[in-house]
């Protein structure tokens, strides 16, 4: 399925069930859409800034001299407002690169262990993590009276499929975000956004006849290897299911701040675009490594049950 631009603009969600090769092709298309949006946004942003500067200068001159410069200032400001709308229009499709690039890197790995006709179901969301629909809780600020903290959960990637051994996998990535808001001493509203890490959940549902006595395995957490800075939150094993939950801490990516939809919540400490791009790339690499290790750790556990069964036979 080719990516439908109108639907993508409307919902900011990619959803497809297809072979990994086709999904990767779609990721290539998303990459082109994203690059085009970045170019257009930068172009209109430049025009807007120029028009706003001209409008401000000539508006000031008109105020001082009561002259005809107002004839230049007004159209310039109108043009700046119109261009701002175009910036907004194109910025909507300026997608977070790390999301589609991560999926694009994961698919070829999983494809190796899928049947040639095997399909994956992928849902990839691109809307900002501070979208109000993603609020899960509101709590009072523990130290600032009158302030509150909104907790957001953004499950931006869901990937399901079946591996060659018949095991079904479901991988979910949930990004956590917080917004601390309240009034400062000047009685002005302040919003402080915080990136709070990413939860990764891998669930494997396997065939009991292939991996017998899975529930009897002892200390499965000892088989789990994760990168530094990634915390194993939970490991659950029963007769046919293995669930691994890990957390990629925000401390590992201090420069990372996702693009936000709430204009007021733009972080005060602006990180340079170069540093931000670097932080995104690091986050993508760490996610990739963590997911690979989660799969390998899970299969280290599953394969042990199979070996023990063969040994018994």
């Amino acid at each position: 399925m080719a990516v439908n631009l109108a639907t993508l603009r409307d919902r900011l969600t990619y959803r497809n069930t297809a072979t990994p090769a086709l999904v990767r092709k779609d990721m290539g298309q998303l990459s082109q859409i994203d690059k085009q949006a970045e170019v257009e946004t930068a172009k209109f942003r430049k025009r807007r800034n120029l028009a706003a500067t001209i409008g401000t200068i000539f508006g000031f001159l008109a105020f001082v001299t009561f002259g005809l410069t107002l004839l230049i200032a007004v159209p310039a400001i109108v043009f700046a407002i119109q261009t701002q709308e175009k910036v907004k229009y194109h910025r909507r499709l300026d997608l977070p690169n790390y999301r589609y690039q991560l999926l694009n890197r994961l698919l070829p790995i999983l494809e190796r262990d899928m049947r040639p006709s095997g399909r994956v179901a992928a849902i990839l969301q691109f809307d900002p993590p501070d979208n109000k629909t993603k609020v899960v809780r509101k709590i009072p600020h523990p130290r600032r009276p009158g302030w509150q903290i909104e907790l957001f959960e953004d499950p931006w990637l869901t990937l399901r499929g079946r591996l060659i051994d018949g095991t079904r996998f479901a991988l979910t990535l949930t990004q956590h975000h917080q917004e601390r808001s309240g009034k400062n001493v000047n009685n002005k509203l302040r919003i402080r956004p915080r990136y709070k890490g990413i939860d990764l959940r891998l669930e494997l549902k396997c065939l009991p006849q292939r991996y017998p006595n899975l529930a009897t395995i002892k200390n499965p957490e000892q088989a789990v290897q994760l990168p530094k800075g990634v915390l194993l939150k939970e490991i659950r094993v029963d007769s046919r299911t293995l669930v691994l939950k890990a957390k990629l801490s925000e401390q590992a990516h201090l420069n990372f701040m996702p693009a936000l939809g709430n204009f007021q919540a733009t972080p005060s400490a602006v990180v340079s675009p170069q540093l931000q791009a670097e932080a995104e790339k690091n986050l993508e690499d760490d996610l990739h490594r963590t997911i690979v290790l989660m799969f390998m750790s899970a299969y280290q556990i599953l394969n042990l049950t199979r070996m023990a069964e063969q040994k018994r036979a």
Binding site: I109, R112, A121, G166, R210, M307
Partner: protein, 236 residues
């Protein structure tokens, strides 16, 4: 002539069983071994072992007689435990190069024909080909069917197994048959979990166990429908 060399790679401690066309150069440095001999393309097999010279030995076919020739390697070449400068090889001989012992299997037409019939009906180009048999002791063993001209490289991320393409043409794993020197197709991801498949430190309460490979027959026996997870997703 095609020859199968069965050995345990000293570097990775993994079993390997490439099928190679003569002449076959054996050594530790791929680039040092000749790529052509008398206008014939040389299959170069790299074995990473400190006792194996960069170009250690050559296996070639002389008028139907397969010979192994020592290439002045300090460690020499042993055939069935006897040091030899040059020796004829027969099916089942054991070569010793440095610390690596290699079992030689001569792959002749008679062996290849029934192997192909086992693969009937003819699988698709990407379907692995294998057969499963029972050993004398009664334990299940997986035997790899020797393909005619297919790709014998081992692929897979979680399940190491043969590529099994019936032709090397267009195969991404052996790159059109040009990458026969290294029968295992490893991916950088394997370096993340270095002791994957090894259970030295953790045994899950089962006691000591040994490594195991996922066989192609396993995959065939587990073929099931793909529909349910798509319904779970509610995806269009």
């Amino acid at each position: 002539m095609r020859i199968q060399l069965i050995f345990t790679d000293p570097g990775s401690d993994m079993p390997k069983r490439p099928i190679l066309e003569t002449p076959i150069a054996l050594g530790s440095e791929f680039m040092v071994m000749p790529s052509l001999l008398s206008d014939r393309r040389v299959s170069r097999l790299t074995i990473k072992d400190p006792q194996i010279s960069s170009y250690h030995a050559l296996i070639d076919d002389f008028d139907g007689q397969v010979m192994v020739i020592d290439q002045q390697a300090p460690a020499g070449v042993k055939v069935n435990g006897v040091m030899e400068q040059a020796a004829a090889l027969k099916d089942g001989d054991r070569l010793q190069l440095g610390g690596c012992e290699i079992l030689v299997r001569l792959v002749i037409a008679a062996e290849t024909a029934p192997a192909r019939s086992l693969a009937q009906p003819v699988p698709s180009a990407a379907t692995p080909v294998s057969a499963e048999s029972t050993s004398a002791s009664g334990s299940r063993v997986s035997a790899t069917v020797i393909p005619g001209d297919g790709c014998d490289r081992r692929v897979g991320f979680l399940f190491p197994r043969r590529c099994g393409r019936l032709t090397t043409k267009g195969c991404p794993h052996c790159q059109d048959g040009q990458m026969q020197e290294e029968p295992y197709f490893y991916y950088p991801e394997h370096a993340y979990y270095t002791n994957y498949g090894s259970y030295g430190g953790w045994d899950g309460g089962y006691g000591s166990t040994t490594g195991i490979d996922f066989t192609d027959a396993d995959a065939a026996s587990l073929a099931t429908s793909d529909v349910d997870f798509e319904q779970d997703m509610g995806a269009s």
